[in-house]
C-alpha cells in the first residue's frame, strides 16, 4: 500500500504541472487573442483619424486633387478591414474579424471658398475603404432647375398659368413641369408704348386705340405667377419670421411679412391636410410652440437688386412689385466686392422632395422683361449624390450605405467559388450529414453597398465601368457592371444597375475583397506507384 501511495505522489507533480500548464496556455492564448483585437482596433482608430486629417490637409493645400478642390474640406473616412485573428487552426489562422472604424476631420484653409456650380470636384465626398479598395462616394450633385417658362409666343394650348395670354408680347409665365405655383407673385406695370415696340404686345394694350403710339402714356398691368418654393424657419429668437399661431400670431395677408398661415407652416409633409385628425404626426395646438422648425414660403423671384420689401425691375419702363405670399431670393455674385447684399433664402426645396437644395451663385437666369422672375438656376442637391445621408424615417426605398449582407466564398478554381454558409441544420424534421472539407479558408468576402442614385460615375449608360473622372491614383473601384454572379464576374467588384429588374431599386455595388492568403501551403507528392487500400467491395463468388 505504501509503495503504491508513493508512486501516486511522484506522478502528482507532473499531472498538476500538465493541468496548470494547460490552463496557463489557454489563458495566454485568450490574452494574445484579445490583445490582437485591441491592437487592431486602436491601430484602425488612430489611422482613420490621421488619414482623415491628412486627406483634408492634402486636398486643401493642393497636394491632392486639382489644387482648388473643395471635395475634402471636411473629410469623412470609413475603414472596413477583415483581419486575421490569432488562431490555432491546422492550416494556420483562418478566422477573420471585421474591424469597422470611421474618422473625420476638417482643415479650414478653404472652408469658406466659394464653390463654383457644375464643377464636380467640389462636391463633398465620403471615402470608404473596404479591405484597401477605395470608394469615393459623392454626397451631392449639381443639377439645373427650370422654375418658370415664358408664355410669350407659346405654341399649342395656352397653359392655365398664362392666364389666357400666350401672345408674342405676353409677360406671363408657367411651370415647365408640374410643380407648386404661386399665380399672384408679382404685379408688373409697363408702358404700352415700349412694350408694343419691343415685344409686339397685342393683348395687354389696344393698338387700335393708339396705346402703342409714341407718347401715348398708356400703361398696362399684369399679375404674374412664379415658382412656389419652400424654405425652413427655425424656432429660435434669431428667426423673427417664426410664428406658430398660438403664442406668436402669423402676419395677415396682404401686409408686411405676409407668408404661409400657421397651418400651412406646420403641414410637414405638405399634403394639404392640417391638424392632428388628418395628420397625427404633425404638431398641433400647443405642440407648435415648442416644435423645432416649420415651412416658410419663398417665391421664385430674384430680389438681389433691392430688398425688402419691394423689387423694382428696370427693364423698359416697367415696374414690378412683389405681391405674393412669401419672400424672394437674394443671392449675390461670388465676385461681389463692394455693397454686397447678404444672401437670403438660398437653401430652398425646389424639387418637391421635402428637402432643401442649395442655389449656386452666378447661375440664375432672370427674366429680362420683368427683371425679377427667376427662370432657371443651378443647385447643389444633397439627395442626388451616390449616397443620400439626409435620409429620414419618412423616406421610401432601401436604406443607402452598407447593407447587413456579407457573404464569404472559398475559391475552388477560376470562376468557381463555394459559398460558405453556416446555419442551423436541425429543427425542420429532416436529417443531414454534415461534411467538412479541408478547403475552409475564406478567399473572397462580399459586401453590398446600396446606392441612392445611379450617377453614372461607376458604370456608364452602356453598362461598362466608367473611365472618365478616375485616375491612376484613384481608379474606378467597380470592375464590372451587371451580371454580377456569372463566372467571369464572381470575383470582381461589380455594380448591379438594376438589382430589382424593374428599375424600382437604385444600384447596388457588390464589393468583392479578394483576401490575400499568405499562410496557405501546398505540397504535391507523386503517389501513383504507392500502395493503397482498395475500399471497393470484393466481387461475389
Amino acid at each position: 500500500m505504501m509503495s503504491k501511495f508513493k508512486k501516486h505522489v511522484r506522478a502528482q507533480t507532473a499531472m498538476e504541472l500538465a493541468v496548470f500548464g494547460g490552463i496557463l496556455i489557454f489563458v495566454v492564448s485568450v490574452i494574445v487573442r484579445q490583445a490582437m483585437g485591441a491592437s487592431y482596433a486602436q491601430n484602425q482608430y488612430l489611422k482613420a483619424m490621421r488619414q482623415a486629417m491628412s486627406t483634408s490637409f492634402r486636398y486643401s493645400e493642393g497636394l491632392l486633387g486639382t489644387g482648388d478642390d473643395a471635395s475634402h474640406n471636411t473629410t469623412s473616412i470609413l475603414f472596413i478591414e477583415d483581419r486575421l485573428t490569432a488562431d490555432s487552426a491546422k492550416y494556420g489562422a483562418i478566422d477573420r474579424t471585421p474591424y469597422i472604424v470611421s474618422g473625420s476631420a476638417t482643415h479650414s484653409r478653404n472652408l469658406f471658398m466659394p464653390v463654383q456650380a457644375g464643377v464636380d470636384r467640389n462636391l463633398p465626398v465620403f471615402d470608404m475603404f473596404i479591405n484597401g479598395k477605395h470608394f469615393p462616394f459623392q454626397l451631392a450633385r449639381f443639377k439645373s432647375v427650370n422654375l418658370a417658362q415664358s408664355c410669350r409666343g407659346f405654341v399649342g394650348t395656352c397653359p392655365a398659368e398664362c392666364k389666357g395670354d400666350c401672345s408674342a408680347g405676353s409677360v406671363q409665365f408657367f411651370p415647365p413641369s408640374p410643380r407648386p405655383w404661386e399665380s399672384n407673385c408679382v404685379q408688373y406695370t409697363a408702358l404700352c408704348e415700349e412694350t408694343c415696340l419691343t415685344s409686339g404686345c397685342t393683348t395687354c394694350c389696344n393698338p387700335g386705340a393708339g396705346d402703342c403710339a409714341a407718347g401715348s402714356g398708356a400703361t398696362f398691368e399684369a399679375r404674374i405667377g412664379c415658382a412656389q418654393l419652400y424654405g425652413i424657419m427655425y424656432n429660435h429668437d434669431g428667426f423673427v419670421e417664426w410664428c406658430d399661431g398660438v403664442g406668436i400670431p402669423c402676419p395677415s395677408c396682404p401686409g408686411p411679412g405676409c407668408n404661409f398661415s400657421a397651418d400651412e407652416r406646420f403641414d410637414l409633409d405638405r399634403d394639404g391636410f392640417f391638424g392632428v385628425l388628418d395628420d397625427p404626426d404633425e404638431p398641433d395646438g400647443a405642440q407648435r410652440e415648442t416644435f423645432a422648425w416649420q415651412w416658410y414660403s419663398v417665391l421664385g423671384v430674384d430680389e438681389t437688386e433691392e430688398y425688402p420689401p419691394f423689387v423694382y425691375g428696370e427693364m423698359n419702363s416697367g415696374s414690378t412689385d412683389l405681391i405674393g405670399r412669401g419672400e424672394g431670393i437674394v443671392i449675390e455674385s461670388i465676385d461681389c466686392e463692394e455693397d454686397c447684399d447678404e444672401s437670403r433664402n438660398t437653401s430652398v426645396d425646389m424639387d418637391g422632395d421635402l428637402k432643401r437644395e442649395h442655389i449656386m451663385a452666378d447661375t440664375k437666369v432672370v427674366d429680362g422683361t420683368t427683371g425679377v422672375i427667376l427662370r432657371f438656376t443651378y443647385v447643389m442637391d444633397s439627395q442626388d449624390g451616390d449616397l443620400d445621408f439626409s435620409r429620414g424615417d419618412s423616406d421610401v426605398g432601401p436604406e443607402p450605405g452598407l447593407t447587413r449582407t456579407a457573404r464569404m466564398y472559398a475559391r475552388v478554381r477560376d470562376g468557381t467559388y463555394l459559398f460558405i454558409e453556416e446555419d442551423k441544420l436541425y429543427g425542420d424534421g429532416l436529417q443531414y450529414i454534415r461534411t467538412t472539407q479541408k478547403k475552409d479558408r475564406i478567399d473572397l468576402i462580399e459586401r453590398e453597398i446600396q446606392l441612392s442614385n445611379d450617377t453614372d460615375r461607376f458604370c456608364d449608360s452602356g453598362g461598362n465601368p466608367t473611365a472618365a473622372g478616375w485616375s491612376i491614383s484613384i481608379p474606378n473601384p467597380v470592375e464590372a457592371c451587371n451580371n454580377c454572379s456569372v463566372a467571369g464576374n464572381i470575383n470582381l467588384t461589380c455594380m448591379d444597375e438594376d438589382p430589382a429588374g424593374d428599375g424600382s431599386r437604385p444600384p447596388v455595388i457588390f464589393v468583392r475583397s479578394r483576401v490575400v492568403d499568405r499562410h496557405g501551403r501546398k505540397w504535391i507528392t507523386e503517389t501513383t506507384s504507392d500502395p493503397y487500400v482498395e475500399f471497393a467491395a470484393p466481387g461475389g463468388p
Partner: protein
C-alpha cells in the same frame, strides 16, 4: 526530487512566457498611443513648402526674405503632414521566443 526540479524549471519558463505576453500586450497598446501623442506635438517647419533657412550675409546685401538667399528649402512634408502621418507606427514585435532582429 528530480521531477520536482524539472517541473519548477518548466513552471518558471511558463511564468516567463506569461510575463513576456503581458509585456507585449501592454507595450503595443501603450507605445502606439504614446507615439501618436508625441508625433502630434512634433515641431514642424512653419514655412513648409518655402524657405526654411536664409543666408544672413546674402540677405544683408539684398533684402530679408530674398528667395535667392535661401540655403535650405522645405517641403510640404515638413509641415503638419509630419504630425498627422497615418502610418506612424509599426506594431511591437512579440519576441515571445527570442528577438529575431
Amino acid at each position: 526530487m528530480l521531477e520536482f526540479a524539472f517541473c519548477m524549471v518548466v513552471l518558471f519558463l511558463m511564468m516567463y512566457g506569461l510575463i513576456m505576453v503581458f509585456r507585449w500586450v501592454g507595450l503595443d497598446l501603450g507605445q502606439r498611443q504614446q507615439a501618436h501623442d508625441t508625433l502630434l506635438r512634433t515641431d514642424i517647419v512653419d514655412s513648409y513648402g518655402g524657405c526654411a533657412s536664409f543666408d544672413a550675409a546674402c540677405e544683408a546685401i539684398t533684402y530679408a526674405g530674398d528667395p535667392a538667399c535661401c540655403i535650405q528649402w522645405s517641403t510640404e512634408a515638413d509641415g503638419p503632414l509630419r504630425q498627422i502621418d497615418p502610418y506612424f507606427y509599426r506594431p511591437t514585435r512579440m519576441n515571445a521566443v527570442w528577438d529575431g532582429s
